[in-house]
Amino acid sequence: MNNKKNNSIRLIIVSAILTALLLLLSAGNLLIGSVHIPTDEIISMLSGYQASSPVMEIILFESRIPTIITAVLCGAALAVCGLLLQTAFNNPLADPSILGVSTGASLGVAVIMLLGGGYLGGAFDSVLSGYISTLAGAFAGAMTVLALLLLFSTFIKSATMLLIIGIMVSYLASSLISLLNFFATEEGVHSFVIWGMGNFSGVTSEQLPVFSIIISIGLILALLLVKPLNALLLGTRYAENLGVNIKSTRNTLLLVTGILTAVTTAFCGPISFLGLIVPHIARLLLNTSNHNTLLPITMLTGAVMALFCTLISILPVSIGIIPINAITPIIGVPIILYIIINRRKLQYFN
């Protein structure tokens, strides 16, 4: 009986702490930046009053707030992708970057950015067409990798082998990216490298609605997968016996992962580690594998982690913004090591 009571108390405490952290980190991201804006100024601007200078208004509404929203949505999206893939592939190390989905999306972006940027860049104004075509490229790349994985999964039953195939596909995509880089123009390579470092401030306020809507649809679709995901914890044979349509569940799951990974990668670059570690943090916090609570908490934790990384990236205000992908491994690697070392003690592995 105790365990049951503990678990519901735990859920409440964990959600409360994460929500508090989410608000705190958002506030931190609002306040800190290369341009100093006083706190009361921010509060008054948020309350709808005119700012003392239009520059501050632009910084707040065109940069800081979009960055926060982007980080929250990206964090939630990547974390959910990780969880979906970990359950579906029955492998605690699955995530969009390890399975090659991010690399596939990157390849798509590289094709658009490097080939397009190199040859077509001057031909038409690329402010709007730029992001739509990048998005399309990322989506095509991510879905190609997912389709390949799906194809292999029809005759390769071992989840580990499938994971290795993902890694191989990832290498292939990387080699193509290198090749594209080799033949691309200098500016093309430069902007691709900058994009590849990852950052949450790449979504402009004009792009934000499209970005938010697509990510939200993906997140809602993920929430609807909770029931079959729980059945899949028992493996496909049990799930099938419980009435789950494995094929359509798997297809939906991969489609959701593809959309979320493609959109986040197109806008923010291939963000590493968040998809891998956040589901583990959420499991450790909640002490359960039950997707009813694990999935929403994974989203929340992902948002918090992304905001945390963003905050660290802007802390050295005088130097500029540190790339997100320089921060995520520093947080991610210790957590993965902790999990590997303690895996016998963690019930969700047994």
Binding site: N3, V226, G235, Y238, L242, G243, T288, S289, Q347
Partner: protein, 337 residues
Amino acid sequence: MAILSTRQLTAGYRKGSIITPILTDLNLNLKQGALVALVGANGIGKSTLLRTIVGNHPPLSGEISISGNNINEISRQKLALSLSIVTTDRTQAGGLTVKELVSLGRQPYTGFLGILGKQDRKIIEESLTATGIAHKAHNFVAELSDGERQKAMIAKALAQQTPLIILDEPTAFLDVESRMETMLLLHNLAHKQNKAILFSSHDLSQSLLLADELWIVTHDRQLISGNTEDLALSGALNRIFASNHIRFDQKQGDFCINVPCQYKVNLICKDKILKRWIRNALRRNDIATDSTRQSKITIDASSPQSGIILYLQQKTITVKTIAELISFIRRISPELF
């Protein structure tokens, strides 16, 4: 009426144009309230047959009906209401509590989001109680012993409320106590809850004790089905293994080694239990105790309180234990037998 029946069923594998039938032309029936054991040697095709019956694997030919419906024609959802399974598959369920695991059995009945109603909760509680795992309801599956895990999986199958439960090697990884408990549980579910339960096993002695019916897969891939005792008496069990060195002992209800011994002795013993174990020890040392063959050596254990007496060439040796008897006999040179 049969819950499960097969007509001209052939189970096996198809790889391109190469067809490998494993078990052919099966006409089987499974009635409610019966516990049926599918027995046979390892690798003979028991699991293939079970996988085919539950619809995980397509049959090469023939029909399978569950509750009167051809399984190819009913939806997965409807099948989930007729048949529940317990497999030996590794799961990722360690981080679920036992109750959460058992709740998964209600999935065919719940809506899109899987929210449990009052009736669902009641059935989950009943399933936990019926399998004797209720005291662990809030423990993590990872914390359970193998036997408890098996009970939890059976509770999941019960919560699914299907007239038919099929289990693949439910006692394979269990110790003797858990094995007995699991078998008794299945027996009770069949008899008290009127379920049709089919399980595969290579542990024959347990199946003989508690199964109402046997489906025997012989070494040459014939399937013989029938009442447990009728089959035990018919000698059908001797057809499980191809080897002549193993024989089903109808008296003991288990398999025994059937290798002719090189030596023989005469054994006099009235106490049947003592006689059984002396014979066991002698047989292990290549010595038969066939009473029709006269031997130069006689062992008299008719009054064990004064010791076991060994007569050998006018000599008489008295020993207290079977260990002493055996260590003495081993020192006798072969030509003296």
